[in-house]
Amino acid sequence: MARPAHLWDMSRCVACMACVIACNTANFPEYMRRGNPNPQWSWLASNIRVWWISVGGRPRVLLTQCMQCDNAPCVKACPTKASYYDPKTGLVTIDYRLCIGCKACVVACPYGARWMDPESHMPNKCLGPECERRIENGLKPVCVTVCPANARDFGDLDDPESSISRRVRESTTIRLREELGTKPRNVVVLRGG
């Protein structure tokens, strides 16, 4: 895949938390036994964050995860090159052998997509280890697979026939905080086709 990215559809999501909990069980199986699995977000050990917001007085929910920026502030901020772009996919990946836990990447991310692991004191973010394995084997990340509302997709933005590309063409989409210049790959659908 040349430019894989996530898609999340605000017009379909019902905040059922299937994706949040699936990410947790698939990628961080050991964590729920602990009292405070994700103290930084006061959340479960999951790469997906849920924001209850109001858009013009209308309640909405916003789910975020690593935006897979093509101009990622976290990659620039990393002093050891532990955060880097995967040469094949361009996905922002972490080499934990190089990471020293300085948290610059956690601070740098304008999407708050990284969270400090309370055991290893190193950053976690989407894609988790199980999802990385799934993608390598032609499957989709767990959050995409479990969604009952057809609110998620994952695929190659550079392939015009991929399901994600077709969906982008047919929908009204935005990318979050594009004005920052981060070139986030992930797509948010505002209105489906």
Partner: protein, 379 residues
């Protein structure tokens, strides 16, 4: 007597390390990534580099100060700067997950786009150059040849100054390049940190030197004038810079956090500690100290600068992380109190700092004209 004191200080040094290490071992994840430990690190880095700029007045610009005080106490000044960088290094390494690997993994990564990469490089250079400068100063008391190499002295001093200025402007921009924290983002933290560093560094140096030499009337009166003038001039500069930062933030996203500092949840701390104490009281005391040659007033001003300086770094680093923007471009708020793990690391580092500072003062030949007697550089 001196031996007993030395032994006690060495024990204190070890205890300090142990406390800090314990804090590291019980480290927790907090709601913001950079908390009290990073504040402490930044503070001491600014003490070290700021006091180094004060030293440069003499070492680079040959300004000897009232009664030639700067020339007389320069070795104390340089030692103070060198010792002050140690707690900064301790704190920043303990803030990492892998302290022992930290420095090497960073320096050899060549991650040139990372501010923190450059921090490691610049700290290394700072430490090296400052140590070289101190050794040069000590050795030139016994080596005429060294003493005569004025050009070497000037080059070394200039390198220290250059690296110093780069360190705290880069340090400012470690925060200033974070688009994720609107309250930080911009080019303003570089000059702000330089000004803040000079203030905090000078005040630390003043307390150290003046208290150590409290019996020396000349030192007292000269430092009164010197440091008070530094406080007056640089406080005005700092206030000027910060004022424009706040005014400019009205029309940017930075206002979401600055508004809390200027008139919201954190306003009490800001106006009372940073403005009333840090600006008004400091100016008053400093001017009074100059006018009435009051050593007490200068010391009080120094304490005020030191504490308000810590508070200003705490508020700058912590509060803007607490109130930032969520991905939906709405403000998000968190609450933070320093954890016991962080307090332990800070307390340990401070104990190490004071002990080290005093140990160096006891065993290094820092007096004006004093010659090294033992082991090449020791008294």
């Amino acid at each position: 007597m001196r031996g007993l004191l030395l032994a006690t200080l060495l024990i204190a040094l070890v205890i300090g390390f142990a406390i800090a290490l314990y804090g590291y071992m019980v480290k927790e994840v907090h709601v913001i990534p950079w908390g009290l430990v990073v504040v402490g690190y930044t503070f001491f880095a600014l003490v070290a580099t700021g006091s180094s700029i004060v030293n440069s007045l003499f070492t680079v610009f040959h300004y000897r100060g009232p009664d030639g005080i700067l020339e007389k106490v320069i070795k104390y000044g340089v030692w103070f700067s060198l010792a002050s960088i140690v707690p900064a290094w301790i704190l920043i390494l303990l803030d990492l997950a892998k302290p022992l690997e930290g420095f090497f993994r960073i320096t050899f990564s060549l991650a040139l786009e990372s501010r923190i990469y450059w921090m490691a490089v610049l700290y290394a250079l700072f430490g090296i150059f400052l140590a070289l400068e101190l050794i040069y100063m000590i050795r030139s008391e016994v080596s005429e040849r060294l003493k005569s190499l004025k050009i070497l002295e000037l080059i070394l001093a200039s390198l220290v100054l250059l690296v110093t200025v780069l360190v705290h402007s880069n340090l400012g921009q470690v925060y200033g390049t974070m688009i994720s924290v609107p309250g930080w983002f911009g080019a303003h933290l570089a000059p702000l940190f330089i000004a803040s560093a000079v203030l905090i560094g000078a005040s630390g140096q003043a307390i150290y030197i003046s208290l150590y030499k409290w019996r020396d009337a000349m030192v007292k009166s000269a430092t009164t004038i010197l440091y008070s003038w530094v406080y007056v001039l640089v406080t005005l500069l700092y206030t000027f810079l910060l004022g424009w930062v706040i005014i400019t933030s009205w029309y940017s996203m930075a206002w979401i956090s600055w508004s809390e500092i200027v008139r919201g949840a954190f306003a009490l701390e800001f106006w009372v500690v940073e403005v009333l104490v840090g600006v008004v009281v400091v100016l008053a005391l400093a001017i009074y100290a100059i006018a009435r040659r009051s050593f007490t007033a200068m010391i009080l001003a120094s304490i005020a600068v030191f504490l308000a300086g810590f508070a200003s770094k705490y508020s700058l680093i912590i509060y803007h992380q607490l109130i930032t923007l969520s991905p939906s471009s709405f403000p998000m708020r968190s609450n933070y109190t320093p954890g016991s793990d962080e307090i332990l690391m800070l307390v340990g580092a401070v104990i190490v700092y004071i002990a080290l500072l005093l140990v160096g003062t006891l065993i290094l030949p820092l007096e004006y004209g004093e010659k090294p007697r033992r082991l090449w550089i020791f008294r």
